[in-house]
């Protein structure tokens, strides 16, 4: 029996693949699919009282969501903040990666490790450290006041959308660095030399050659930053104040203080769908653009 099974295993590639995948498959099923399924089903229920839930099927929670201006505007704000964070991160990470990929000759790995060094501390600690930098009596405000440049501390720095954007940008920069670096490093430098040789200036060469060839990395970075920041909860909770609140904070409230599990579940599902749509649109359009880059 054992022998036949061994022989089957040796011959069957799918069997090998599934057995290698099985630990991950079990984990994903238990920790992802089951909770997701529960959340989805809860979004079709009704909260009757503080402890009671009516388990009959209804889509009223989704209608509720779009009837509450607050929720819709929070969803829009979440997407907007994420887009800004993604854009600023790309804008700051791209030149760094460009430099490492084309101008650093030795110890490229060391540069990358050094750049990701801040990310060895926990996300939460980094959010708290931004509190120290941006706060009313924080590093920026107190040094500006001590230097005599300001009389009153800048209030827009802390507990605002700005604070959330700055913190999220810093928090996700490292994740943008890697896909960007990989796609830029893959570009054969002789292509850039060839473009220069064929009469293009540095700037034109960047537009015509470097940028299109690094698009896969740009798309990767966009998705890697956009997807998690839309649903980010810690940063807006700690630094957002009322102005910088995002949809995830509201969802947390529905599952906690407000105790309206079905509406929270519906909001989460809507957010999930929004992220999925944005992801599909971004990857589809850019895939069209980059079909020929391999």
């Amino acid at each position: 029996m054992l022998q036949t099974w061994k022989a089957f295993y040796a011959r069957s590639d799918p069997a090998k693949a599934y057995s290698l995948l099985s630990p991950a498959l079990i984990l994903v099923t238990l920790a992802m699919l089951v909770p997701l399924g529960l959340m989805l089903s809860f979004s079709f229920f009704t909260q009757i009282s503080f402890t009671e839930i009516d388990y009959s099927f209804t889509i009223q929670r989704y209608i509720d969501f779009f009837q509450k201006n607050l929720l819709v505007s929070l969803l829009i704000k979440s997407v907007k903040i994420s887009f800004i964070v993604t854009f600023v991160t790309l804008l700051t990470a791209y030149p760094v990666c460009y430099y490492i990929a084309f101008y650093v000759k030795k110890n490229k790995m060391l540069w990358l490790v050094l750049l990701t060094l801040p990310f060895w501390t926990s996300y939460l600690l980094r959010v708290f450290s931004w509190k120290i930098i941006l706060g009313t009596k924080g590093v920026i405000n107190s040094s500006l006041i001590n230097a005599g440049l300001l009389n009153e501390p800048l209030t827009f720095l802390m507990y605002s959308e700005t604070a959330v954007i700055i913190t999220l940008t810093h928090a996700w920069a490292a994740f943008a660095l890697l896909p960007l670096y990989v796609s830029l490093d893959k570009i054969d430098f002789s292509l850039i030399e060839a473009a220069r040789d064929l009469g293009l200036s540095r700037f034109e060469t960047f537009w015509k050659i470097t940028l299109p060839l690094s698009l896969p990395g740009i798309i990767g970075a966009i998705l890697i930053i956009f997807i998690p920041t839309v649903g980010d909860y810690v940063t807006p909770a700690l630094l957002g104040g009322t102005d910088g609140r995002m949809l995830s904070n509201m969802i947390q409230a529905y599952f906690g203080k407000v105790n309206n599990l079905p509406l929270g579940a519906a909001s989460a599902t809507i957010m999930l769908i929004t992220v999925a749509i944005v992801t599909i649109v971004v990857s589809y359009t850019t895939k069209k653009l980059t079909q020929r880059i391999s």
Partner: protein, 360 residues
Amino acid sequence: MNNSFIQINGISKHFGNVKAVDDVSFEIKEGEFFSLLGPSGCGKTTLLRLLAGFEYPTSGSLLLDGIDITALPPDKRPTNMVFQNYAIFPHINVEKNVQFGLRKLGLTNDEIIKRVKDVLSLVKLEGYEERYSSQLSGGQRQRVALARALVRQPKVLLLDEPLGALDKKLRDEMQLELRTLQKEIGITFVFVTHDQQEAISMSDRVAVMSEGKIQQMSSPNELYKNPQNIFVSDFIGETNFLKANTELKDGEYINVNIENLGSFKIKNNLNISENASEVICSVRPETMMIDTEKSDWDICLEGKIKQTSYLGEMTKFYVETKEIEKIITVSSQYFDNQSFQDGKCFISINLNDISLLNKK
């Protein structure tokens, strides 16, 4: 015809402590097929990149058609390059690749279309306009790279080992084609290669480089028949080296005492001084004769065949004699590896075929 179309005046290029190109001066004629030949790391590619503008010299100046181009960036030079790996832009098709360099020349649309069409037919790539780099074979990519550079009608075409990645058959074909093409369009070609056979068969003139310096610059015939020093003689083709001392001169000739062989009078083509110790005599394998019988040639040595390699059109013999430890010689159809009993053979050399070389 301009004899000093490209003037290279005392060009040096240092990378840190490494002198990649070390005070090199020479001129290239207009319309010439000029090759830079040397082993890897000899500075030939650096010299080509200096001409293209990808590197700037540490010292010295470059003139092209009378204009100083030393400090010009690549996009301002009337040169174009065919890269070793072809550097075809992967995200645009063949037609767009070829058009790429034309957009800055201020041509009308009709002119652009005509030029692209003409150059694609010149390199025999009609019908491939819509293909992408990944859909082309090595030889076709090479043609695209060539078309893309030629379509701009540069004054000088720079080629960086363009045939290195092709298989032997295709390489031989492309060698002939490149040569024909160059004669047809009359553009000056500067061709970098490490393959001596390639350089000799294609070029009008060849510069042999080693350690950043030019060892010899002459026509292929001259290079093979009259190498100036050991490096060139060894690098171009195969040869046998014999240690010797010079004795007294006799007009164009000089008496030479070859180690273990005795005194001979041979032609002093490099004008080597009398009583010089440590000169080297070179004898090409194909000038010698291998036979089963003794001959009446100037030198005839009895030897034993240590090893043979059969190459089809000829056979190469590695022979040991009492006087010389290792001689390489070749024989065409007449003798092959089965002709000699117990490896016993006779090697004959004519004095005319011995050339005298400087040690450096």
